[in-house]
Amino acid sequence: MLMPAPEQEIIAQRLELIAALRQIVPGEGVIADETSLRAFECDGLTAYRQLPLVAVLPSDTQQVSAVLKLCNERGVKVVPRGAGTSLSGGALPLADGVLLGMGKFNRVLEIDWDNRCAVVQPGVTNLGITRAVEHRGFYYAPDPSSQIACTIGGNVAENSGGVHCLKYGLTTNNILGVEMVLMNGEIVRLGGKHLDAEGYDLLGLICGSEGLLGVITEVTVRILPKPATQRALLAGFPSSEAAGDCVAKVIAAGIIPGGMEMMDRPAIHAAEDFVHAGYPRDVEALLIIELDGPSAEVDDLLARVKAIAELCGSTYLRVSQSEEERLTFWAGRKAAFPAVGRISPDYLCMDGTIPRKRLPDVLTRMTELSEKYGLRVANVFHAGDGNLHPLILYDANNPGELERAEAFGADILRLCVEVGGVLTGEHGVGVEKRDLMPAMFSETDLAQQERVKCAFDPNHRLNPGKVFPQLHRCAEMGKMHVHKGKIAFPDLPRF
C-alpha cells in the first residue's frame, strides 16, 4: 500500500513544529519520543504501521482549532484518531504528519432526557454513552462490535453500524449535531438538538467522511428507550441458499428483526469450539434472528419467523427461553473474530455488501477463490442488510501469504461490486480499500467526491492518502473548461 511520499522539508522542520505545538498544547499533550509514539503506529488494520512525525493530544476545541490552523499554515498533514479501532486504516499515521489524538475529549457533557439526546465529547466510547443513560431505560442504538473501545467521534467519521442497524440505522441516522473544526481552524456547528438542517445536510456528509473533512469536537446523539423485550431464535439450514431464502421470506413477510446474522460452517465451528454457545455442527448455515420491541409483538413475530424457518427447511430450531440463553446465542457470533483468530495465526476481515439474493453465487465463487489462493475463509454475514464479513485466514510468517490474502480479499470485494453491491458496508475505505475505489466509481464519480473534499480542505492536509486512490490538486479539479459558443443550443423539445 503506497502512501503519499513523505515531504522531507516538513520532516526537516520537526523540532520547530514540536515547539510550536507545545505553545498550543502544553505539558504532556505533545508526544515526540519514539517509545511513546509507538502506541499510535497503527489502528485495527495492524498489517500497516507507521510512526507519526509527532502526536498531539489536545484537551479542548480551541486547542484543536489552533493545531489545525498551525498545521494548515505550515503545510503539515494531520491524521485524526479516536480509539484507533478502525479496521480499514483510517487512523494510519503519516511519517510527515501530526497525529491528532482525541482521547482527552472523554466527557459526557449533558443528558437531555425530555429531548431524548445526549451531548458528548468525541472520545466517549460507544458503549460509554449507553452506560451513561441506561439507568433510566435508554440506550444509544448503533452497536459496532468494537463498542467497548471505539469512540463516538470515530463512529461519526466511519458512519459505524452494528448488528442492529437494519432496524435502528447507522450512526448517521442517530446523531443530531456536531461541533467540528475545519482544517483552516474554523469552528462550525452542524445541527443541534433539532432534526434536519437549515441548508445543505453537511451533518450527513460528515458522517462517514473518514476524517478527511473536519475534526469532530462534540457530538449530540439521539438516545432511545430500550426495547421492552428481546428474544432470539437459532435456525440451522442444510445450505446457505435455504438460509438466504429464509431471510428473504422473513423480510417479505413484513418483519424487520432487531438483528439477523448468518454464519457459514467454518465460522460456526470456530465459534462453537471457542465459546460453546451450543451451535449445531451439522448445518451449513446458521441464522441468529433477534426480535425486539413490545412483548406482545415479539412473541407474535417470533412464532411467525419460526414458521417461516420451518417452511424453508430448517433442520435445527431453538428459541431463547431466558435472557441468559439469548446472550449465549450471541456470544458465539460476537466472538467469531477472536474464534477465527484461534484457528489461524492471522486473518483479514473483509466488509462488502451484496444484494442478499446473490449470496449463494457469491459463496460459491468465494469457495473457488479460496481454492485458487490456497487460503481458508470463514463467513459471518449481517444477513438482514446484505453486509458480508469474509474472514480470510493466513499466516503472516509465511513469505507472500499476506499479499496472497490481500489479493484474495480484493477479488472478493470486486465480486461484491460485480453482483451489484459495494466495497464497504461499515468498515470504511481507509487505506485498505482505497485502491479498489475505481472498481465501483468512475473517474468522474471520484472527481466529484474529491471536489467536495476541496471545499473543506483545499490543500489536502487532513488525512491524505485515505479513501482516494489518487490525489489531484484542487485548483486543477475545480477548473471547468467551457467552450463558449461551441456547444450547440440543445435540440430538445421545448415549451
Binding site: Y200, L202, K357, A447
Partner: protein
C-alpha cells in the same frame, strides 16, 4: 416565462446543462412544479423540466430497495409499494395544496430536493435517511453516481445525504435508489384532550420515552383541532394531543392499552382506529389545516421537542394572530401568521435563535421571499462552507441559482 427544455433521458439532461454552463445561462430545475413557490423566487431565463424522466426501473421487495427515475410521482411509487405491503417510511407529505396546487403532483425528485419528512420523522427518518444512491448530472454537465443500490454502504462520501434538501442546487438527478420498508399491519392513535402546549409536550415526551415504540406525536391546539376532518378531533372543542402506534394487531392493542395507562393522569383519553387514525395523520402530514386562507404566511420551525411550546409562547406574545400546531413531539411547529410586510420574521427567527433550530418561510408572496431569507441564515463560516460545496458541484452557478440563499 422561461424557455423550458424537456429531456427524456440522461444524455439530454447532460447536453442541456453543458450548454447552460458554457453559456452561463441559469436553469430552473423542476418536476411538476408542485413546490415551485418554496424557496427564493427564480429569475432564470431557462427551465429544465425533469418530469419526463419517470418510471420505476427496479423493485425488489425482499431486498428493501427500489430504483426509480426521479420524475416518478410519489403516489405511483406508493401504489407499487402498497401492493407488496411496503411503504416509504419517511411518509412524504403532499404539500402542493398549500400553494393552491392540486394533490399528488409531487415527485420523488421533489421529495429529495426538499428532504421531505412526515410525522414518522423522529422514528423512521426523513428522505435523507432513505436515499441510498443516485445518478445525476452536475452543474459541470458531468454524469456521475454516488452511493449504492444496497441498504448498507459507506463507500465514499455520502453524497445522497447532501442532495437531500439541496433544492436542486447541486445536481439534476436522473436515477435514485431508495430504501423501502414493510408497512405496518395496524395503526391506532391514542388521543389526550384538553392539554395546553407545554403540558402536551410533556405528555409526548413521556410517551416517546416509553418502550411502546410510538410513531407519531402531534399536538393540535383547540382552534386547529376544530378544523379536523375526523369527528372525534373536530368535535372535542378543546386541544387534542395525538400519539400513534403501529405494528401487528395484537401488539398495537397491547401498546395502546399500556400508553393509556401511562398517560391517564394527563387528561381524558380516547382511541382512534383504522381510517380515523390514518385520516388524522394525513392531515397533520400535509398541513391541511393551513391550506386556507392562502394569503396567510406559513412558517415551518424545527427545534428541540421541549423547546417547541417555549418558542411559540414567545412568538404569540408579539403576534396574537399566530396559529400553530406541533408535530414530532413538539419539535416541528407549523406556524401561520396574518400577512404583513416582514412576514413576522423578527419574532420568529428571534425566538428560534434563543432555543436552537431553524425556521423556514414556507408560504409568502414572491416579493417577500425575495427579500427575507427563506431558509434560516447561517453563521459566516458555515455559509462560506456551503458556498464552496455548491461551487464544487456547480462552479458556474447555473442550477437553481439563489433558490436557497444568495449564491446558493
Amino acid at each position: 416565462m422561461p424557455e423550458t427544455f424537456v429531456p427524456h433521458g440522461i444524455s439530454d439532461v447532460a447536453d442541456v446543462i453543458r450548454w447552460a454552463a458554457a453559456e452561463a445561462k441559469p436553469l430552473d430545475l423542476h418536476g411538476h412544479r408542485s413546490k415551485a413557490q418554496l424557496g427564493r423566487p427564480s429569475q432564470s431565463g431557462y427551465a429544465l423540466d425533469l418530469s419526463r424522466l419517470h418510471g420505476i426501473l427496479d423493485y425488489e421487495p425482499a431486498e428493501l430497495v427500489m430504483t426509480v427515475r426521479p420524475g416518478t410521482l410519489i403516489g405511483d411509487i406508493e401504489k407499487q409499494l402498497a401492493a407488496q405491503n411496503q411503504m416509504l417510511a419517511f411518509e412524504p407529505p403532499d404539500l402542493g395544496p398549500l400553494w393552491g396546487g392540486p394533490t399528488n403532483r409531487g415527485t420523488l425528485g421533489g421529495a429529495i430536493g426538499c428532504n421531505l419528512a412526515g410525522p414518522r420523522r423522529f422514528k423512521a427518518g426523513a428522505m435523507r435517511d432513505h436515499l441510498l444512491g443516485f445518478v445525476a448530472v452536475s452543474g459541470r454537465g458531468e454524469i456521475f453516481k454516488a452511493g449504492g443500490k444496497v441498504v448498507k454502504n459507506v463507500t465514499g462520501y455520502d453524497l445522497p445525504k447532501l442532495v437531500c434538501g439541496a433544492y436542486g442546487t447541486l445536481a439534476a438527478l436522473t436515477e435514485a435508489t431508495i430504501k423501502v420498508l414493510p408497512a405496518p399491519e395496524k395503526t391506532r392513535t391514542v388521543l389526550i384532550f384538553g392539554l395546553d402546549d407545554a403540558k402536551a409536550a410533556q405528555a409526548m415526551a413521556v410517551a416517546a420515552s416509553s418502550p411502546h415504540e410510538v410513531s407519531g406525536l402531534a399536538h393540535l391546539p383547540a382552534g386547529i383541532a376544530a378544523k379536523s376532518g375526523v369527528g372525534y378531533v373536530a368535535q372535542a372543542q378543546q386541544a387534542v394531543t395525538a400519539i400513534r402506534v403501529e405494528g401487528t394487531d395484537v401488539s398495537v392493542k397491547a401498546r395502546c392499552e399500556a400508553l393509556r395507562d401511562l398517560l391517564k393522569d394527563f387528561g381524558a383519553l380516547e382511541e382512534l382506529h383504522s381510517m380515523n387514525s390514518s385520516w388524522l395523520w394525513r392531515e397533520i402530514r400535509d398541513v391541511s389545516y393551513f391550506v386556507l386562507p392562502q394569503d396567510r404566511v406559513l412558517w415551518r420551525i424545527s427545534t428541540a421537542p421541549m423547546a417547541g411550546p417555549v418558542v411559540m409562547a414567545k412568538i404569540v406574545a408579539v403576534r396574537p394572530d399566530a396559529e400553530a400546531f406541533y408535530d414530532w413531539g413538539g419539535g416541528l411547529i407549523w406556524l401561520s401568521l396574518a400577512p404583513g410586510e416582514d412576514a413576522g420574521e423578527p419574532p420568529v427567527r428571534g425566538a428560534v435563535a434563543k432555543h436552537g433550530g431553524h425556521a423556514t418561510l414556507i408560504r409568502a408572496d414572491a416579493a417577500l421571499r425575495g427579500t427575507i431569507s427563506v431558509f434560516h441564515p447561517q453563521p459566516p463560516a458555515l455559509a462560506d462552507l456551503a458556498r464552496r460545496v455548491k461551487e464544487s458541484f456547480d462552479p458556474m452557478n447555473i442550477l437553481n441559482p439563489g433558490r436557497m440563499a444568495a449564491g446558493i
